[in-house]
Subunit: 262 residues, 2 copies
């Protein structure tokens, strides 16, 4: 039965801190749900599978785990209520700037600071069928344990593309023919439910939780109608409304194509 | 300048634990955003406004605060990175079973266990214009500090109605003429984007994060199309898709009424 080397143990412990993660080619994945996804989606990136004694591998996964005593596992584990499985994973390779845009529109996260929000958005983008999510420098670490848990490992299913500042990301997308830019705005702007060209070779930028999206020369304001008196939606909820408006239009177009009524 | 009595101080400390909250007529509100909402929406429920020295009241609020030293404030405060404002609040009065349904449909949360999810859903329901959210016994405490923070205090703007088990809630709604029940289902069912009568005197039930909604005799399955290969959406994201599909239809109906094209 495999065991965990000293150096591996101290590597894992170091990854629990932001400082230890910075620049590291590794990350951690915690809990059965995200672990199942990572083991299924990218098994070749998984370096160690660590179980607490008495815990089973997610069903459908065949992989020789390291089994630790409760005490040994707690020494490694990063969450308070760990569920007995932890992976040491190599980070996915960085996508080069030359790589194409493969979705009908580019979904850009600008300096999202909360790993829970970031992870939820990646998970939702995956469910909505996107294969890429774009982010700016200064955002959260997309492979922190919290982000991986919130995303249920979806950052191993979609390409997370990071190419510098918002200006740099927009310039890169513009050079690929994606030059009509929408920025979400709580106040006013084009209606997300009626803007016809919203998902046609466009760029949609969602901003930081506190500050929102900054000024972007030439960008169109995009508004989610809110009948209630609330100030605004959480950024992950705004992302969900936009992503599933795309799903709705796709499924309506599919129904039309098949001669069915909407 | 007001000060904090010993008994108030120990009351506040007791509310940080689930045990202390249970059966208490009080709850806590933490942080500037939720505090602003509660002070604006339900000022008559606020018993104490407590600031850490150097922190200001949210603008637009006039209320005499208790100002504590950093050390005194930290002794009371419940979050690790507190932002220097804490309210002691009476819980809103329980809504009696006889009270009417005031929304076009009833949105029911069945045993939601995570205060962050619960709070996010309440906040989103408020933004979508709902004035009531229904919940079953065995759900999270709707007025825990985490739920209040995640909701930005929205549980003080909408009625949170709790009337026992799911069976009891559905029987009560049925007696008020809300008898067509939809339960969300990840597998199959009526399409949320095309089901015509979805928001017409209906009941929509969202289930527990792990278990989903249990069997409900006579209920219709409701499905959110998911082009991606993900297993499911987070319950708060599913709620957002449904709530903003309602907003979309309302705004489309409004545009038609005004003779505008969609």
């Amino acid at each position: 039965m495999p065991t965990l080397s000293r150096s591996r143990e101290s590597l894992i412990r170091s990854l629990a801190s932001r400082h230890g993660r910075k620049g590291s080619p590794y990350c951690l994945c915690d809990g059965p749900r995200a672990s199942y996804e990572v083991l299924t989606l990218r098994p070749e990136l998984v370096e160690e599978v660590i179980l607490r004694e008495g815990t089973s591998l997610p069903s459908g996964v065949s992989r020789e785990p390291v089994v630790l005593s409760s005490a040994g596992f707690e020494r490694l584990s990063i969450t308070v209520h760990s569920q007995g499985i932890l992976l040491l994973v190599r980070r996915p390779e960085k996508i080069v700037a030359e790589a194409p845009v493969i979705d009908p529109f580019a979904f850009v996260l600008d300096r999202i600071g909360d790993p829970g929000n970031f992870g939820t958005i990646i998970r939702t983008a995956r469910a909505a069928g996107l294969r890429q999510v774009w982010m700016t420098g200064g955002s959260v670490d997309p492979y922190s344990d919290k982000a991986v848990r919130s995303a249920s490992g979806a950052q191993f299913a979609v390409e997370v593309r990071e190419h510098g500042s918002l200006e740099e990301v927009l310039a890169l997308l513009g050079s690929k023919g994606f030059s009509r830019v929408y920025r979400t705005s709580p106040a006013a702007g084009r209606n997300v439910f009626t803007e016809e060209a919203l998902f046609e070779k466009s760029v949609i930028v969602l901003g930081n939780e506190g500050a929102g999206v900054g000024g972007i020369p030439g960008a169109l304001d995009l508004n989610i109608p809110m009948p209630g008196d609330a100030e605004s939606l959480n950024v992950a909820q705004a992302a969900t409304v936009i992503l599933f408006e795309h799903v709705r239009r796709m499924s309506a177009a599919g129904a039309r194509q098949h001669g069915l009524s909407e």
